[in-house]
Symmetry: C2
Subunit: 262 residues, 2 copies
DNA sequence: AAGTGGTCTAGACCACAAT
DNA sequence: TTGTGGTCTAGACCACTTC
């Protein structure tokens, strides 16, 4: 239990109604906000905080867990508690599926990653057929069976999103879409070659906390939500030809959309 | 300490590496997922769980705090811990700012709420002038000063979002836009009357955990993220005439966008 | 008054990391 | 070996809700 750099943290207000662990969390949050602890910097250890505030260890841990829940800090076993660096965010532009971004022999994800000087990977590739869920079925016009394509995307080694695509089997069966690697331009390019010229996409955006499997797949730190994006692609005949259900690490993305005023 | 309805919860695996509080959280999560505890239903009390599992109270509380962090349950002092009901979500369509939705004498928020049979309110109305932040300044083309309009929106009494609009002072000063109530159709209608015919909007969508003031303003339960939406409005001359920074309760919204394939 | 969750203590032993 | 965070115990007192 070494001494704490003086001045960074204050003292408790015994007359306050605010719980002690909240006061400690408030002071740490404020110190981080003021830059007294930079991104990636180590906070005082639990025993240092115990010594500084004169409280029990559980109280200190309670305070730290508040900050962890806010996504402000993360702990590393045996090392300490650190201010969470904000990772670089990937900006998804609303024209990312425009045709002219497609005819380049690579997937949209890869093209964009390389343009940003990042290394991209795709893993967990799975292709199968199944009966659609009620939600997917409704979006696709009630096909009996669908082709399911699942994959995970990594940027510079970090998993940032995973996605599952659903396509009516009568469209996709026996085509390159059903192959593990659908070829240059991805499945949208293949769909157009098959005569399904794409006209528009609908996207639905939600945010929530991850389920434990999602947190594991995306290696999410506590306090990081996920963005759920469900995209439906329509061809020029107005038929829904694909539904893509994506779960993204919210700290890795900003979605950009352009809306005409009409 | 009363007995627990048998069969709903299992026993601990002492040979498992998984921490006891995680095993308890897993079992509760699974029971909720299977519908053994419906939305809004009360979980066994802490002392019941202590009795059932034969662990200390802190271990049970640790397990419950895991579920709370996931947004699965919420606790009410003196009453119990309950499965969080998922509130009705408001669907924001991408044409919500289209002109034909504007000329009806009411704000977009009010119109949409009434169409859904909900009661809407706006409060915390504040209008002031200030120097723009670096971010707002960059988006608006570096005006010296901006008009700032802040307000909070409630649906059926529940706060669901708050928003801050920034407009270049040379556009807004001395106009109805600077009044607390800008009149029918909102500030977009007033902007068009002032000769700034709107052409397009850009929206940026992010998600993260709320700061404590945000959680207070939106009365967010633990484990509920916020969606941050920054919208920039451009007139037909290509000038940015407004930036609107919105923070929304993520459990109350789904954002819908339409993208042309081009 | 009884039951509930909220806060806090003062320990204990463990697993992981740095030295 | 030392310091760190991870887990767990067995209490205590408090505030809120319900009866």
């Amino acid at each position: 239990m070494t001494a704490l750099p003086s001045g960074l943290l204050g003292v408790l207000d015994a007359t306050s109604d605010r719980a002690v662990f909240r006061q400690i969390a408030d002071q740490l949050r404020e110190a981080i906000g003021k830059g007294h602890f930079a991104e990636g910097a180590k906070l005082p250890s639990e025993s240092e905080l115990v010594g500084h505030y004169g409280v029990s260890r559980m109280t200190v841990r309670n305070a730290l867990s508040v900050l962890q829940g806010e996504g402000l800090v993360h702990s590393e076993h045996g090392k300490g508690v650190f201010v969470r660096p904000r990772p670089p965010v990937r900006r998804l532009a609303s024209d990312r599926f425009a045709r002219h971004h497609r005819d380049q022999g690579k997937s949209a994800f890869t093209v964009e990653a390389e343009a940003a000087g990042s290394h991209s990977q795709v893993d967990n590739l799975q292709v199968r057929e199944e009966r659609p869920s009620a939600d997917v079925s409704a979006r696709l016009g009630s096909p009996l069976r669908v082709l399911v394509r699942h994959r995970r995307y990594l940027l510079d080694g970090r998993p940032v999103e995973f996605a599952t695509s659903y396509l009516p089997l009568d469209i996709a069966k026996g085509t390159p879409i059903a192959a593990p690697n659908p070829g240059p331009g991805g499945i949208y390019a293949r769909l157009e070659e098959l005569g399904h010229r794409l006209e528009r996409f609908e996207e639905e955006v939600r945010a929530r906390m991850p389920t434990p499997p999602e947190a594991k797949t995306l290696r999410l730190a506590p306090g990081v939500p996920v963005i759920r994006l469900v995209r439906t692609a329509y061809d020029t005949k107005g038929r829904a030809v694909e539904v893509c259900d994506t779960v993204m690490a919210a700290d890795a993305y900003v979605l950009a959309y352009e809306l005409p005023a009409q």
